[in-house]
Symmetry: C2
Subunit: 463 residues, 2 copies
């Protein structure tokens, strides 16, 4: 639906004519994210600063037009898709690192700093920003904050929320608020900072982020262990935890995923024959502690029946061990190009039950479901593969999806550990949350956005 021309003119007056686009290419491009199920925008504006965003928000509100913030556009659940049209507010011009404060272990950034760029910048001065979503070379801090991004390091270091100290954000009424600050301890008023983290751009538009940094680990050690079965690998995970080691990464890859990587890398064998599961373990810190922890990891894997354990002797070997994990997303496309990419999470001790559930789904719904993920925090990516054009398989895939989510919740887990709900999973929200809790969340949304114009159609099922 084309916007009224006076609204477009007013957007141009606020942001500058060159920063407002209404051409079909832009409306399509900014209407989709990594979910690949988009809806075109009615206009795309790329403002500079909270004041311009505040003016845009007030303008849209006065016309009753929805507005949707957009960061890197790398989300898997359609969080930045303007499902009801309206104005996409792309933060792409707000991409500066404003400050790296070494003495206070703090960084202040604009929302569209690429996560990997921030990591590089702080590591140059011996500091560390741990959250490492797979998309870190393209996703941005603002989006990471809006979705509470995770990654392999979350088991040891926590997810994005553990690193957000404060925010500047524009509310749906145009107010600019400042929450938290540069200090780690702050108990003044409600913790709006952490209410906004993970709110998927539905409560506010994040315009500045204050992040906590930690010292960069001095050394690390990387191990790969292979097992005949997922059960044995899961036992190794339990053994590691019982040995009181918290690895910086503890990644699990199942047989189907390994076969896909082998096919992708043209048959080059990456693990011993009959490997049913592979664990990638990485410990970091002071050299002596790292050596001790690596030994404990090795013992934990051996005790669980590991068939082979490799330990990287240098950075090149480390890269080689990580290669299987890094190539997974590409490799799965050798199976079929469509995947329903789920990021379920269970208490880590229940990973074997999760794989039992997946085995049942494969059998009962005749599906290919390679799995891999972050065993340390029980966050497993369950990829339901679908052949393009096979409508019956897609139907079975969606049936399996629901059974998966119900099973995960029965295991005291969660239907999303990293990707959020967006609009793709909104109908499944009641599987995990009871009506009272959903009602409380809706009251929060209403308190922030009574007219439901800020990124509408997300998180909550259509009523």
């Amino acid at each position: 639906m084309p916007l009224p021309s006076e609204l477009v003119d007013a957007l141009r007056a606020i942001a500058g004519a060159e920063h407002v686009r209404v051409d079909a290419d832009a409306l399509q491009a900014y209407g989709a994210d990594a979910l690949k199920r988009g809806h075109p925008a009615d206009a795309v504006v790329t403002p500079e600063g909270a004041d311009q965003i505040s003016a845009i928000v007030r303008l849209c509100a006065s016309h009753g037009v929805p507005f949707v913030p957009r960061g890197g556009g790398t989300g898997y659940t359609g969080g930045s898709v303007p499902v009801r049209g309206g104005v996409v507010i792309s933060l792409e011009r707000m991409n500066r690192i404003l400050e790296i404060d070494e003495d206070n272990l703090v960084a202040v950034v604009e929302p569209n700093v690429v996560t990997g760029d921030l990591q590089d910048a702080v590591e140059k001065v011996g500091l560390f920003y741990p959250p490492d979503p797979a998309s870190l070379k393209t996703s941005v801090i603002g989006g990471n904050v809006a979705e509470c991004a995770g990654g392999p390091r979350a088991f040891k270091y926590g997810t994005t929320k553990q690193y957000v100290l404060g925010l500047q954000a524009v509310l749906a009424n145009g107010d600019v608020i400042e929450t938290g600050g540069k200090v780690v301890k702050n108990v003044v008023g409600y913790d709006l900072t952490h209410l906004l983290v993970g709110s998927e751009g539905t409560l506010a538009i994040i315009t500045r982020v204050i992040l906590r940094l930690v010292p960069k680990p001095l050394t690390r050690s990387t191990l790969r262990a292979t097992f005949r079965t997922v059960e044995e690998a899961a036992r190794a995970v339990t053994n590691v935890i019982r040995a009181r080691v918290v690895p910086a990464a503890l990644e699990l890859v199942d047989r189907d995923s390994l076969e896909a990587v082998t096919a992708y890398l043209k048959g080059r064998s990456l693990a011993p024959p009959d490997t049913g599961a592979l664990l990638l373990l990485e410990v970091d810190g002071f050299a002596e502690a790292v050596a001790e922890e690596a030994n404990r990891c090795e013992q934990a894997c051996l005790a669980a029946g590991a068939t082979e354990i490799l330990r990287a002797r240098d950075e090149a070997e480390r890269e080689e061990l990580w290669r299987v994990r890094r190539e997974l997303s590409f490799s799965l496309k050798t199976i079929t190009p469509i995947k329903l990419n789920h990021d379920v999470v269970v208490p880590k001790g229940r990973i074997p039950q999760l794989f039992d559930l997946v085995a049942r789904l494969k059998r009962d719904f005749r599906l290919r479901i390679p799995c891999f993920g972050h065993a340390g925090d029980g966050n497993i990516h369950v990829n339901i593969m679908v052949t393009p054009g096979d409508e019956d398989e897609m139907r079975r895939a969606h049936e399996a999806e629901r059974v998966l989510f119900e099973g995960v919740v029965a295991l005291e887990g969660s239907i999303s550990g990293e990707h959020g709900i967006g609009f793709a999973k909104a109908k499944y929200l009641p599987i995990e949350l009871d009506p009272q809790t959903i009602a409380a969340m809706k009251r929060v949304k209403h308190a922030f956005d009574p007219d439901n114009l800020l990124n509408p159609g997300k998180i909550f099922p259509e009523s």
Copy 2:
């Protein structure tokens, strides 16, 4: 104001007659906390379980009577004081550890488990619950969660919010909600868990807490370093951080506080003459890493001009080094029994400026202001001492308090790092937060408690 007798009868019907008190002793005792400025309750009820609390809340709401949750009653800002009367809901009977799940590094507890008891229980199985407020032998987990308690270990380990994975809570409308869960990663809907953490019992009554645990550190090393000036001690803190060490404790004690301890311990000398500041440093982890980190701490202190460095060789010596810190609260009473106990926080690099500010306050307002606290996270307890009955001194103390808060905010700090706002600091909220941010917080309060019956009169200044 006595409650209607039918309300008291209904409370008895819900909780059992023996768990409802309206005698004057109870109404006084449950009307005060560690702030020592209370207001009597109109009734005290000690329910068992969320269902009883839900019924009590609905009952009070139907009568328009305020209700106030109470944990250990150890707060410093009156968070559990029923300032507008009503029913105090004491959670003292809900004090069981429900589960310690070693494989998943999770504990599930009722709200009134004493924090120190939980720590003892998890340490018995090699696990660790880091938050360590000074009150840990009497304060309880539910109160720690409601206030987001900190403590010395927060610099390395974070405050209570870093350990809360999920909550069961009763809302002001009587709904029982379940937020979060047993998994570390969970991005399903809004993070109500962390909105409730630190909300000072004004948004919900916490009835169950799921806590994350970590492996217990295997060893630790404790050092005491003395300096001629606070500036030198602060430089040592910066040096430690620049050496990329994150101590488990990094406590600072100033000259006035040291003198009070010396007086309290009957003149026994605890630090070299002319000591202007004392640092207590503790590092923990694997033995080799601890040794390396302790050496770095020692070097950092020497480089800053330390006059003496002691390193504990055993647990007895460690206790002796910690003694100064532990005896501080009692020691300050040798100066005078009344203290305005502030828990301001500044970015740690600005601790010298904070002490400059305190020096000005001492001079300009003719006050005694011993300071000590958690230098690692910039959280310094600024104790403005007042002689009982000296009204002029009390007036000057309150004037100085406002100047202190304004100065701390100008240093990009916060007026409260640990104690919260309660009613004691409500009038100072606008020093730190702008009107838009306060308005957003009030909308959150209204969304949760439209009739303002749940712990009213807290956080926000009277309008």
